[in-house]
């Protein structure tokens, strides 16, 4: 279907494209190993988060938590805010985003363009400052509605009801699903759906490993695991450093012409690892991974050019995923 009544109706239904040049070559007669990219940057605001934003708002409306004119408050470092801003605009809500200073300028410009208000949390203050800012705002405005993407079941359900079925429809022979781990919504929802439908499916998480500045904890007990996370949905989980993420991001555009954000580079790194394992073992594999957004919002980091070391340094201390 290529005609929709409104932009919100155009959410999802993204293309799945093969990557024949990046897929491992296997000996003649050996079972094929193929990589597939699910182009979530083809959503209305250019990221996978449109699915979750739309489902979370609809669920809150259905539950009577959200009424026209209400204010939505969400802590977000970018894409969820942009998606919510678009949905809020079209459904008649005001959106206030709380975000750290150390995100790219494009994200801030996009949010403002969509009409969101932004409250910055000082990057230098680290997590403790962010906690203080978030607590203060929530206390001052008890009537604001927080959709809380980290614990909102509609976030994962969006993927159970849309991303998962789309993947299975387009690739019935799927053997591996790989996606980034943040709120965990994409992996939990899509992973549960595919586990229900495909015997032996492997669900693989790729988690960004940031520079040390980002892990500004005082002690281990300040850590956080999103309420949505259920480790039993996953079969493996990889930590991918900045250098590998940048390397794969560049490789994707150089070899296959796909221009993506750095979190997708991290996901590709994990996808290639499992694809090459399958090829070495002589096993058939159809590895589908999520392109969570395009590279446009990250150009100002400068990490698409120069040496890998330059790029790594440029991204140090930034939330690149």
């Amino acid at each position: 279907m290529t005609r929709y009544d409104s932009l919100l109706d155009a959410c999802g239904g993204t293309p799945l494209v093969g990557l024949p040049r990046l897929s491992p070559t296997v000996p003649e007669g050996a079972p094929p190993v193929r990589l597939w990219a699910k182009l979530e940057d083809r959503n209305p605001t250019g990221s996978v988060k449109d699915r979750a934003a739309l489902f979370m708002v609809r669920a809150a409306e259905a539950a009577g938590r959200l009424r026209p004119g209400d204010t939505i408050l969400e802590p977000t470092s970018g894409n969820t805010g942009i998606s919510l801003a678009m949905v809020a605009k079209l459904r008649g809500y005001r959106l206030v985003c709380v975000m750290p200073e150390n995100v790219s300028t494009e994200r801030v410009q996009l949010l403002r363009m969509y009409g969101a208000e932004i409250i910055f949390s000082p990057a230098a203050g680290g997590s403790n400052q962010a906690v203080a800012t978030a607590k203060q705002i929530a206390t001052e405005h008890p009537d604001w509605v927080m959709l809380f993407q980290y614990g909102n079941e509609a976030n994962a359900r969006a993927h159970y009801e849309t991303t998962g079925p789309e993947l299975l429809h387009d690739l019935p022979t799927i053997t591996h699903f790989v996606a980034g781990l943040g709120t965990t919504g994409t992996l939990m929802g899509t992973g549960r759906y595919l586990r229900d439908k495909v015997e032996g499916i492997q669900i693989i998480a790729a988690e960004p490993r940031y520079g040390e500045l980002v892990y500004g904890l005082r002690n281990i007990d300040e850590g956080y695991v999103p309420e949505l996370y259920d480790a039993t949905v996953l079969t493996r989980r990889f930590s991918v450093g900045t250098r590998d993420a940048v390397l794969r991001t560049r490789q994707l555009v150089e070899v296959e012409g796909l221009f993506v954000g750095f979190s997708t580079g991290a996901v590709l790194h994990a996808a290639l690892a499992v694809a090459h394992e399958a090829a070495r073992a002589g096993r058939r594999a159809d590895v589908a991974f999520v392109v969570s957004d395009g590279g446009w919002k990250y150009l100002s980091t400068g990490a698409y050019g120069g040496t890998l070391a330059d790029a790594e340094e440029a991204l140090d201390g930034q939330l690149w995923a």
Partner: protein, 119 residues
Amino acid sequence: MAIEVRIPTILRSYTGGAKVVEGSGDTLNDLLTDLDSRHSGLRGRLVTEAGALHRFVNVYVNDEDVRFLGALDAKLNDGDSVTILPAVAGGAFGFAAAAAMAQHVGAAPAERRARVTAS
């Protein structure tokens, strides 16, 4: 030959400030015991009294999460690289703000968690 272990900032008080230390062991459990003999107290920050990995600690062997490799029983080989990190899914800001909000909104996240578990 030895196993290289990367220590996060918040645990370097146990390693005299060292970012990287070396140890040995056939399993992660053995390695942590070996490390504790030289960096006393480190093991106690990573493993609970019940003998499981701390909820907010992630340990990776060659970039792969050990919870999917047998956790403390995960097999190790000389030359492996082990990375210890605090759990901060969703980025530092995300987890911090979300944790704060979760406390603030009280029961709401717990209710949602219950529904997720049931589904």
